[in-house]
Symmetry: C2
Subunit: 192 residues, 2 copies
Amino acid sequence: MTTPDSGPSRWEKQESSLLARTRIFDLDQIRYRHPKRGAARDFVVIQPPDWVNVLALTSAHELVLVRQFRFGIDDFALEIPGGMIDAGESPLVAGARELLEETGYEGGEIKSLGTVRPNPAIQSNRCHIALATDVDLVGPTSWDTDEEIEVFLRPVDEVLQLARSGGITHSLVLNALFLFEPWWREMRARGV
Amino acid sequence: MTTPDSGPSRWEKQESSLLARTRIFDLDQIRYRHPKRGAARDFVVIQPPDWVNVLALTSAHELVLVRQFRFGIDDFALEIPGGMIDAGESPLVAGARELLEETGYEGGEIKSLGTVRPNPAIQSNRCHIALATDVDLVGPTSWDTDEEIEVFLRPVDEVLQLARSGGITHSLVLNALFLFEPWWREMRARGV
């Protein structure tokens, strides 16, 4: 898709200032200038590191789910393992690490299913979605401070049904299932 | 799913303080107390109003897409219409309003496909997903300050293919397509 002259303009990024620094993200105020109108406006941008979420599939075609208390929604959420990518760490290495730390599961193979933008209007980072196949429980969990995670397995089709009936509402987890579904159907069609 | 004694605890919300107020959200610091350990910890929570995104389908089975510059990612994003729900406004009324304002399209019927949580770990709000059917171009757009939107139609199957091949990366737009897909397949199976 091109940007015709009549289409939306690419605003020009100018100076940025820090509004707040938290454990999870910086909140910046960034000045943008409209290239045609010349007007400058300030916009706030949430700047977290990139994230990775992992669909971990056992050889019995079950997915590893996690359930934990989430402070953003002041409630429990049903999710897949994942977390922040450390500086210099690749998304797949981070995914395998988070899977092992949060659940004790480790996979035979891990690959990328794609990358999404959690919130393009106000947030800068990417969330990578990884698929780990033939995972097995290999050891104890190793949770961060404040983490308490219930880990359990559910058949893929039950997870998809949960996701489409309001049982899973976490946006990035639903993204992972959306990108996973064609792979899953193809695998099933091949009778694997 | 129950919360057994051995499972993750529900933290108790205590006092909250405002870290930053922006046009789009408040950033709060909220103190939580762990019910068993007794320890208190502060967590930051992004508090926007609820949002609504609208899949708008024409009678020719095309979806209304919008493309605009997004300051969060400093780039253009391909999306569906949507926006913030005003105080006291219902999600479907807000969806029909945003659709009309951003694109000039209006629908015969609008219904809910579900609700997702954009980011349970650090963000409080919900995003409602609406489906408007038999939409038509009925009038001019009415953009907010700073909005410049390219509006166009694409066949549903082309949009789904784009979404699964990296052409659409906006998390909440992918959520809408995930919840829409079974409805779409059923409609196709009925030969509508």
